[in-house]
């Protein structure tokens, strides 16, 4: 991350409406935001956009969140925050074991997600 440029956030989620709301919010918070609506698109944006932090939906059609997380971990060390539909303890433990930075559940609280993203950036 360059010191003067805004932090780069990649949102990977198949729900477009959600993505655009998150984009609005994080842009207002001073982030540079890119969106991807599938795992495959997400992986390609990880390479081209080189995000500082990634918000990844756990439940997506085709390539699911867990598979996508494995592939992301292979190409970048940027922290990944998993967004899950529900509190699924087994799923959370699996993602954390695979190297996810944090695990949050829907419905999302913006203060909570902003806090997690900021602390992930500091960690990086």
């Amino acid at each position: 991350m360059q010191s003067n440029s805004p932090p780069k956030l990649l949102i990977i989620d198949d729900e477009k409406e959600y993505c655009s709301l998150m984009e609005d919010f994080f842009s207002e918070e001073g982030f540079s935001v890119e969106m991807a609506n599938s795992g495959v698109e997400g992986l390609s944006k990880v390479e081209t956009f080189q995000p500082d932090v990634i918000l990844l939906d756990k439940k997506m059609p085709m390539m699911g969140g867990v598979e996508c997380l494995k592939r992301i971990s292979a190409i970048t060390s940027s922290p990944v925050i998993i967004v899950s539909g529900a509190l699924d303890i087994k799923g959370r433990d699996e993602c954390l074991d695979l190297g996810a930075y944090a695990f949050i559940t829907k419905p999302i609280n913006l203060d909570e997600v902003l806090g997690k993203v900021n602390s992930a950036l500091k960690k990086e």
Binding site: E15, F25, P107, N109
Partner: protein, 451 residues
């Protein structure tokens, strides 16, 4: 059965050839034969007391009969050798029959009775057909004007060797007939015993069938509840995921609206109300997911009592304020169980809350446990009982159904016991309920003991 069969089981058949022509003697002979046949028929039941009673009656009657006979013969024979010999035969009868009866000191029944019967048949045939008839002829001849000596000659002539041969032949026939009759009696006795055993077995089988049918009914009920809950659980999980996405977007829109209108009180208040409703939906979805979630229990070996006790420490004081007393009856042989402490905590909190709700005027909640035996060996049973209002069978049948509640709207989502059921199943256990209206309710939780 014994009474009816006694007619078919005569060991001695009376006919007119046995008659002496002296009515009193013939009548007493018939009575003796009758008692002998009774002895035979009682062999079926082989009841020692009854057999002894009939035998004693027969012996007493024989003694009485001999005295009657002798009082009839005496005036005719005085001290003639025929009479004195006859008297000797009489006096030897009882000692001989008693000797057979008490042979080997065995109980009076079975073979011993058979031996006694065989002796009596032989003795009666010779006594009546030979000796008594011989004396009776003499008596009749004297009555028709003959002297004693002449009468004896006539009697000897009538009771010739050929008659003796016939008596011998008849005795042999009676003997073999009695053996067959006794075999028949034994056969009847065996059949009766077999029939009794068969009847007893059939009754036991019917009892067992009833018990099994009841067990199947209970098992079917439990299976149906489990299947129903599993189906509802699957459906709930699907619905929850579909609801969460739009709910998430509504929530995000609301939060954005709130952020962008920090100084607008009307919008802030409006967004606060939407938030409140989102929280309500979140809570219901959370309960549904908790109910539908399977296999996520973190099982650790420990004593469940410890978890229950720590939970009770939190609520006991509060319950006292509502006049509810909590009694604990822990068993001495508590064994470790594999369980998820948080989830079991949730189960018991839920059951205690239900018990409290069932006792608006206070009462007693009893917690107890026992190690199960028999087919449920390997399980530990925990019971939560209250002496509250109880439930009707209809309510009991739906108690674990999701969204089923007897509470007024807004007081309960009807998910508590469905979640409890799911948690117990996750532990490989079973939960059931017993309730009586006006008396109270008991929840029975069976959990497998840790290896």
């Amino acid at each position: 059965m014994t009474e009816d069969k006694s007619l078919d089981c005569n060991v001695f058949f009376w006919n007119e050839n046995f008659e002496t022509g002296i009515p009193l003697i013939d009548e007493q002979h018939k009575k003796l034969v009758d008692l002998l046949n009774q002895l035979g028929s009682h062999l079926i039941a082989n009841d020692e007391i009854e057999l002894t009673r009939v035998f004693d009656e027969l012996a007493a009657y024989a003694d009485y009969h001999f005295k009657t006979e002798e009082s009839i013969w005496r005036p005719y024979f005085k001290d003639d050798v025929w009479f004195t010999e006859h008297q000797q035969t009489h006096s030897s009868f009882l000692p001989e029959v008693s000797k057979i009866k008490e042979k080997d000191g065995a109980p009076f029944g079975g073979r011993v009775v058979e031996d006694v019967i065989k002796f009596l048949i032989r003795w009666l045939i010779y006594h009546i057909l030979d000796s008594d008839k011989r004396l009776a002829i003499v008596l009749h001849q004297i009555d028709s004007g003959q002297s004693l000596e002449q009468a004896k000659i006539i009697s000897n002539r009538e009771m010739s060797d050929s008659v003796k041969i016939l008596i011998d032949a008849m005795s042999g026939m009676y003997s073999s007939l009695s053996v067959r009759t006794l075999d028949l009696i034994r056969e009847i006795e065996n059949r009766k015993q077999t029939e009794d055993a068969l009847r007893k077995n059939t009754e036991e089988l019917n009892e067992l069938k009833k018990v099994l049918e009841q067990k199947i009914e209970i098992a079917e009920g439990r299976l149906l509840t489990s299947l129903k809950l599993a189906a509802v659980g699957e459906l709930s999980a699907g619905v929850c995921h579909e609801v969460l996405n739009p709910l998430n977007i509504i929530g995000l829109q609301n939060q954005m609206l709130k952020r962008r209108n920090n100084d607008n009180e009307i919008i802030q208040s409006f967004c606060g109300k939407v938030d409140f409703q989102i929280e309500r939906i979140k809570k219901i979805v959370g309960l549904l997911l908790a109910f539908s979630r399977q296999g996520e229990a973190k099982l650790k070996k420990g004593f469940l009592k410890v978890t229950i006790e720590s939970m009770l420490n939190l609520v006991e004081e509060e319950y006292k304020l509502d006049s509810i007393q909590i009694e604990k009856h822990w068993c001495s042989d508590l064994t470790p169980i594999l369980y998820d402490a948080d989830k079991i905590h949730q189960v018991f909190v839920n059951l205690l809350q239900n018990a409290k709700y069932a006792m608006p005027n206070g009462g007693v909640i009893t917690l107890s446990c026992e190690q199960l035996k028999g087919k449920k060996r390997g399980f530990h049973r925990f019971k939560v009982s209250d002496n509250g209002t109880g439930m009707s069978p209809e309510v009991v049948s739906k108690i674990f159904d999701p969204f089923f509640t007897t509470k007024p709207e807004g007081e309960g989502a009807g998910m508590g016991l469905s979640v409890v059921h799911g948690i117990i199943q996750e532990h490989g256990g079973e939960i059931s309920v017993e309730s009586a209206e006006g008396k109270g309710t008991t929840f029975l939780i069976d959990l497998p003991i840790a290896d």
